[in-house]
Every structure is written in C-alpha cells, then in structure tokens.
Symmetry: C2
Amino acid sequence: MGGEGQSETREAIMEATYRALCDHGYASLTMQNIADEFGKSKGLLHYHFDSKEELLVAFIDYLLAGFEDDIASIEGPPDERLAAFIERFVVANGDERRALHLALLELRAQAPFNDRFRDQLARSDAIVRAAVADMVDEGITTGVFRADTDPDALARVVLAAMDGARMRGLTIGDDTYPAAVRDALITYVLDDLLVGAAE
Amino acid sequence: MGGEGQSETREAIMEATYRALCDHGYASLTMQNIADEFGKSKGLLHYHFDSKEELLVAFIDYLLAGFEDDIASIEGPPDERLAAFIERFVVANGDERRALHLALLELRAQAPFNDRFRDQLARSDAIVRAAVADMVDEGITTGVFRADTDPDALARVVLAAMDGARMRGLTIGDDTYPAAVRDALITYVLDDLLVGAAE
C-alpha cells in the first residue's frame, strides 16, 4: 500500500515536471515551477528528489520508458511497424508535444556536459535502435525486406534522419521538415528494401 | 584602408569567439572570455558589437558562410561531391571541431527562442540544401543519378540524417555514430540512386 502511494506520488511528480517543462522550457525551469504544477510544497518535492538534476534524470527515464513502451506497442507487419515508428518523430506546429520537444532539445544539448543525462540517452538509444533493428530483422526473416539489409545500420540511419529532421524543424521553425524527411526516407530507403522492389 | 582594418578586426573577433566558444561552451560564455581571446579590451569588443547576442548572430553568420564556402569548394563528379559533403559531418573524438560542435548544439537549442538565431539557421539550411540539391540535379543531368530522383527530397534526408548522426554522437558520447550513418547512407540511399544500380 505504502509502495503504491509512493509510486503514485512519483507519477504525479513526473506529470508535473512534464507540464512545467512545456510551460517554462528547460533553461529557466525551477523546482518551484514543478512544485506549483504538482500542487504541493517544494519541501515534499525535495523529500522525493534531492536536487533538480536528480529529478530531471528520473524524468528522462520516465519519458524514454514511455517512448520505448510506445514503440513496443506498435503492431502489424514489420514494414508497417517501421513506417509507424517513423511517424512518431513527426511533430507539427500546434502539436502539444512540440513544447516538450523544445525542452528536450535543450536538455540533450546539456548531455555532453552531464554524465547522467548522457548515460540515460545512450541507454535509450541502444534500446530504441535494437527495437528498430528487430523490425528489420523480422522483415528479412518473413521475406518482406531484402536479405542483404543490415538491421543495425538501417536502424541508425532511420533514427538519425528522423531525429535530425525534428531538430531542424524545431530550430529553423519549418514544420514541414519532419514530414518531408519521412516521405523521402520511405521513398529512398524503405521502399528500396522491399523484396521485389529492386535487386 | 579604413574598411580593410575594420574587416580585419572583425575577422580577429570572430576567431577569438571561435576559440572562446571551444574553451568555455555556449552556456557560460561571456564577452570577457571573448575579449581575453581577442587580446584587447572588452570596450573595443563593445565598440564593434552592442551585445553578446549581436556578436553571436555575426558569429553564426561567419561560421555558416565558412561552411557554405567549404561546400562550394568541393570538386569532382556529383556523386563524389555528395559523398565528400557527407564526410564534413563526421566528427570523431579528438577532432578539434568537436568542442565547436558542442557549443553550436547549445546555440541551436536556443534558436526556437531567439528569432535572429533561427533566421540565420533557416537561411543557411536553405543555402546548403540548395547546394546539395544542385549536386543531385547535376547528377541526373549527367546521367549519374536516376531520373526519378527528387533533388530537394534527397537533400533533406541527407542533411537530416547527418545532422542527427552528429547530434546523437555528441549527446550520447558515441563517436562511431556519424561514420556508421555515413556508411548506411551511402549503401541504402546513394548507391541505390546510381543509374544501373537498380531500376
């Protein structure tokens, strides 16, 4: 029971952090902002997390775990799953995830200077990359993708392209970028890998 | 003559900014750091640039112009030029450009909140993208690339993939990322576009 209450409190803190990051951005975020969204005292926040860094490390973990679950929940044949995965990166103007992705971009820019942020991102990159590589692998086994496809190499190029497209879209204020790169990736990468497309 | 001295001073300030950014990173950079690298007073710096933001906008311009000149200077057949362009994004550990790219990543993360940074990056994206699209276009005209290739779509996916690869490499501390994505991009995108590769 105590454990249940504890985990509900942590969940509530994570949701409050999400809203505070969306409203204030990463650079000016304070524990007070999070406490305000949490609707409880800053003291209670500090009871659960010693520092803002501690809380943000837990938040990255929470967010990445959500993204990883999201990928695991995609169903269908491997080529459709891969296309659905790519779709998750497409953030349009007005999208409620946009503010979060802006805050995440700032947080990622700090990762080279923060070992704990970097380790979290590295761990997640490995998990997500393996999930994409598994889709490709399954597609080879079931005869959807060409047998000479390297699952990890393909996973890296897909991840990098969609990540870069989202970053460019956000940083230059061009919301057409992610969708344009998605289409190009499907035309110039995925379609060419389909068995029977070309040999 | 006066104009010449003026432009030499600006060039010296830009080089000092480059070194100061590499040494201190973006977040903690001060006008004093730049003045120290410049070897002149902060007052002289302020004579040329009203504020740090003013100076950084000029620096982004300087850096992007250098990158654009760099691309324009690549020679050879279009497919080789495209491969050489991709190579510019590969930053390895120990690379002297690494510190600069870390600082640039922080600066880009500020672009969504800074109209002038964003406009500079958008302008540069358009120029670089057009240069890559021109290589593809020339490749189609000279019969190197397949005629059904969309130059702008291809330029976007190449730029996004290499940008994302560099960002992932820097933020998760995996210096093999850019080279791995370069290889995958050549195998799964560029090679498939060559006339005779597949139809």
